[in-house]
Subunit: 196 residues, 2 copies
């Protein structure tokens, strides 16, 4: 789904690791996505989905990242660093995505317009600034989320964070460490933008 | 946190694998949890947290499960089965926990009473039945969530599913495959109840 941060995570990883993959676009609220769902090609009803050469289907963006990055430098060798990485990835799905991505979706997808209320947008703004504040505090004085170097945690959190101002309406001037971290990722060899 | 499904996942795994661990209770809305937060012992502001002998702290229940179960039979050796396992675990944090656990919390914790509205409870009931319906469909004709045997995905999803009726008010009579799966888990050697 071209506009989805969860899909972008996977595209960014594929590009950073230079892995070959055919990308099939399924934008929100289109016939393509309805058809994919009807065909049973979306095991959990959502995108992205990774289809292997064998035909096996894997849902969930963060599970796809872990699967594709096996053996690469993006999964720390140290078991505790690896656990810190997965902790950030679960936190992203439980706390960050349900606020930052949801506010962006409410503001950008016409199909969600009927769910928008001023109270809901205000609540998501306030909670999102708290969530970004937690990342800001952690990234102050650190280059990457996990000790030991860049990892999947950075790719995972970057997806919805780097568009939090433009798409979500968050005030990123408050978060200079996050902005430096975003610039660090955007400067990586093989980096690809959300809308490439 | 004795009443938390996220904490219970970790206790259940420790018991199933017979791993030694000192358990420190921090119930919701108590002085203990406020103190733990003030002391910087809750890296992401929430429980459970695993503290290693070295003093290092690991948040996020599902990251703790993955860390503690390394090398055990609860993490499939096959990389695709492992990816299916983590897919269910991310889905749990993104879809299941934010509905099933949230409805249970609204009904059971006095500290959440001010967040309860009839519309919100009705919405969470409807969405929860859809989520449980997805698990029911998947578990019909399967013993465990992931092909190849019981895994962390079952422990992870069991935590809030097995109390969905009693604490969440969901109608589990609709989901016979889930009920058989719950009974399978409750019969495991080393099984421990939520309130042991």
């Amino acid at each position: 789904m071209p506009s989805s941060g969860n899909s972008y995570k996977v595209r960014l990883l594929l590009s950073l690791l230079d892995l070959p993959c055919e990308i099939v676009d399924c934008e929100d609220a289109t016939l393509e996505i309805a058809q994919a769902r009807a065909d049973g090609r979306l095991p959990f009803g959502k995108v992205p989905v990774l289809e292997l050469d064998s035909g096996r289907l894997l849902p969930e963006s963060n599970a796809i990242l872990l699967y594709l990055a096996q053996g690469s430098h993006l999964i720390p060798a140290d078991p505790f660093h690896q656990a810190q990485m997965t902790a950030w990835m679960f936190w992203e799905q439980n706390q960050h995505e349900g606020v930052i991505a949801v506010r962006a979706a409410l503001r950008n997808y016409p199909s969600r317009a009927h769910l928008v209320t001023p109270e809901r947008l205000a609540d998501l703004l306030d909670r999102g600034h708290q969530i970004l504040g937690m990342m800001e505090q952690h990234l102050s004085g650190r280059d990457w989320l996990v000790d030991g170097g860049m990892s999947l945690a950075d790719i995972c959190l970057y997806a919805y964070t780097h568009t939090a101002e433009e798409r979500g309406g968050y005030d990123m001037a408050r978060f200079p460490a996050i902005r430096r971290w975003c610039a660090r990722i955007a400067a990586l060899p093989g980096y690809q933008e959300l809308f490439a």
